[in-house]
């Protein structure tokens, strides 16, 4: 599959925007105005952008605790996301969710919640809706290597295969669950996709730091899903640059090495595409994105907090 220049530029722009948003969160975080945990996606932008670029707006995306990149890649509103992290009434959940609970219904980013593996069956249920109503929607669930250790994920894979549901299991393998490396959690001789294969699901592997490879694989997967041939599992090895939760680097605390981090940094998903983009365009785009981000933060900071009364609303529909 040939990816044209316009598409490459678009993929790059989308990754750069996510990177800059996450860096802005890291920069503002010490101000202590964002009073909720943040799990930054820096280093993992290609998986989010490559997968979502293969989707239509009507398709649905679900995610877990590290969802900023997925939300933005699917077209989630930036202002509403930043305001939500600031706990403001203008946030996408009116302040009831925070960074770990993002949603933008209009953009098809249905929801993210932070219990690992727990949104996987929910996404499968959304795929059941799509199938029962013959809506032709594709559903994507972003999950990580840790989720593959959760029983509910295997229950979900089994059900999705059984019912031939149009759902893409987009698995970012970033090698760590918080500080616990993959090698203490799963046997070395078995890959994540091999584990999925046992359920009889179609599996694919793409370099999670190569946005074009992810986009190509996801496009193929979507075609497969739309033809009613059942779910697809896509494994994408990648790496988180910052600490599990929070704005800092943490290579010094001893669970991983600086060398390992540097080797992944050399494989930066953004850098890999930068040579394809004219430097003139880089500058003007960076400026434009910076302004958009500044506006989003200004919006969030100046928005009112929800009043105390709102806390007891929306318990029941």
């Amino acid at each position: 599959m040939m990816i044209d220049q316009t598409k490459i530029f678009e993929l790059w722009r989308c990754m750069l925007r996510i990177r800059m948003v996450e860096e802005a969160i890291a920069e503002h975080y010490p101000e202590q105005e964002m009073r909720c945990p943040v799990h930054l996606s820096i280093g993992q932008e290609a998986a989010a952008v490559g997968v979502c670029a293969a989707l239509q707006r009507k398709d649905w995306v679900f995610s877990g605790h590290r969802s900023h990149a997925h939300y933005l890649a699917k077209g989630g509103d930036l202002k509403c996301m930043v305001a939500e992290i600031y706990g403001k009434s203008t946030g996408c959940c009116g302040g009831k969710g925070g960074s770990m609970h993002l949603t933008d219904q209009a953009a098809g980013f249905i929801g993210a919640t932070p219990i690992v593996g727990s949104t996987v069956p929910i996404a499968v249920g959304a795929a059941l809706t799509s199938q029962l109503r013959e809506e032709g929607r594709v559903v994507v669930i972003f999950l990580g290597d840790g989720a593959m250790e959760a029983g509910v994920v295997h229950e979900s894979l089994n059900f999705a295969v059984l019912k031939k549901l149009p759902v893409l299991f987009a698995c970012e393998n970033n090698l760590y669950s918080v500080y616990s490396p993959l090698k203490v959690r799963q046997p070395p001789q078995r890959s994540l996709s091999q584990l999925a294969t046992g359920h009889g699901i179609q599996t694919m592997l793409a370099d999670g730091n190569d946005v074009c490879a992810v986009f190509e694989a996801s496009s193929k997967a979507c075609k497969f899903l739309k033809e009613g041939d059942g779910p697809v599992f896509l494994e994408m090895p990648t790496y988180r640059w910052r600490e599990h939760c929070g704005p800092n680097y943490d290579n010094d605390i001893g669970y991983r090495t600086e060398e390992e981090f540097e080797s992944w940094q050399l494989n930066d998903p953004l850098e890999r595409l930068t040579s394809y983009v004219e430097s003139k365009k880089i500058n003007s785009l960076t400026k434009k994105i910076r302004q958009e981000i500044q506006e989003a933060f200004a919006f969030a900071k100046s928005s009112p907090f929800p009043d105390g009364q709102a806390a007891s609303e929306d318990v029941y529909a």
Partner: protein, 350 residues
């Protein structure tokens, strides 16, 4: 005489109505389309509405609860059934972390209209893992509705109301109620998901019964008549939210209350009801609210041990007499049936 059908048939009729009325309703659960049809409560539904809308599931209760939620927030109205409450415990993560909070945590952007039916087992050696009544657990979680219909009439009306409600509803059904018949209208109707029901008016004491215990309370009230004690019997039928008005009105009038639960007394729903009543009516109570329920150990299996596990009408009657300042003198009549079956027609195996 008006038409009488069983609790199981009433549940089945409610689901058939909902499937007919709304194309977004679907029914799933382990054994739903099998020859027994969840003790008769789903019989014939797959034949009538097809395999796409009425289907069996893998033994994956947690994922399937998530599937129900995912379909509900995107427009469907699932009814999920578990043959025992105990089986639903592996799905507690999806129920508590997800279904109960999906509306709230996204600021009201989505709704989760799910009905999860769970059956409470009792007797015939159901034992520690087939007979738990955990309604108090679910009642503890904001965002859930919890109902326990007792009569066939309520079973139909409450299940229809539950399916039409836009929240997750936990519907706990006592196995011993399944065969009981009641007058049930043929047409569709709704019974409130927020109101308890006065089954029988009285003036001296209020007996509040949970699920099958409402029937034991009715029997106790009948026995109490012989002692010239007029008992008001309330079928709680709604566990969350607690219908404070109905309970307060009754106890305000009688000044005495006995709460008879089908769950454990320790941290049970009877404690919550007792607290609600005491907080509001402390001055007008003639005696302290008394709780009767399951003892502080799991359900034993052998009939020799389980026979005295559940409160029954004579015990309830005696406690009521005590509360009224009388000597507890009711003697259980010699029963020509075993206590581990509701009546001789129930012959197990589950």
């Amino acid at each position: 005489m008006k038409r009488q059908i069983s609790f199981a048939e009433a549940l089945c009729e409610a689901q058939a109505y909902c499937l007919e009325a709304n194309p977004n309703v679907y029914v799933m659960g382990l054994g739903v389309p099998d020859p027994k049809g969840i003790f008769g409560s789903t019989l014939g539904l797959q034949e009538r509405f097809g395999e796409k809308r009425v289907f069996d599931i893998p033994l994956s209760e947690n994922a399937i609860t998530g599937v129900a939620l995912g379909s509900a927030i995107t427009g469907m109205r699932p009814i999920l059934t578990h043959q025992r409450v105990d089986f639903a415990l592996v799905s507690i993560e999806q129920i508590v972390n997800q279904a109960a909070k999906w509306h709230y945590m996204f600021g009201g952007k989505m709704q989760a209209p799910i009905v999860i039916r769970m059956i409470v087992g009792r007797g015939w050696g159901q034992g520690p893992q087939h007979s738990q009544s955990l309604h108090a657990w679910f009642a503890h979680i904001p965002g859930l509705r919890v109902i326990m219909p007792t009569t066939a009439r309520d079973a139909k009306g409450m299940l229809i109301a539950a399916v039409e409600d836009n929240n997750p509803v936990i519907c706990l059904e006592h196995r011993w109620l399944y065969g009981l018949k009641d007058e049930v209208p043929e047409e569709d109707y709704r019974v409130s998901l927020e109101q308890s029901r006065v089954m029988q008016p009285g003036t001296d004491i209020t007996l509040i019964g949970v699920s099958y215990m409402a029937l034991e309370c009715l029997r106790a009230a009948e026995l109490l008549k012989e002692y010239r004690v007029s008992a008001e019997v309330i079928d709680l039928r709604v566990i969350r939210p607690i219908d404070k008005n109905t309970l307060l009105n009754s106890v305000q009038k009688t000044g005495r209350v006995l709460i008879v639960d089908h769950g454990h007394v320790m941290a049970g729903i009877s404690a919550e009801i007792s607290a609600v009543l005491t907080e509001s009516l402390f001055q007008s109570l003639k005696s302290p609210p008394i709780r009767l329920g399951l003892p502080d150990y799991p359900t034993p299996t052998s009939p020799a041990m389980s026979d005295h596990y559940y409160p029954e009408s004579h015990q309830i009657g005696n406690r009521a007499l005590e509360l009224c300042g009388r000597k507890p003198e009711m003697l259980p009549v010699i029963q020509n049936r075993r206590l581990d079956q509701p009546d001789s027609s129930f012959e197990g195996p589950f």
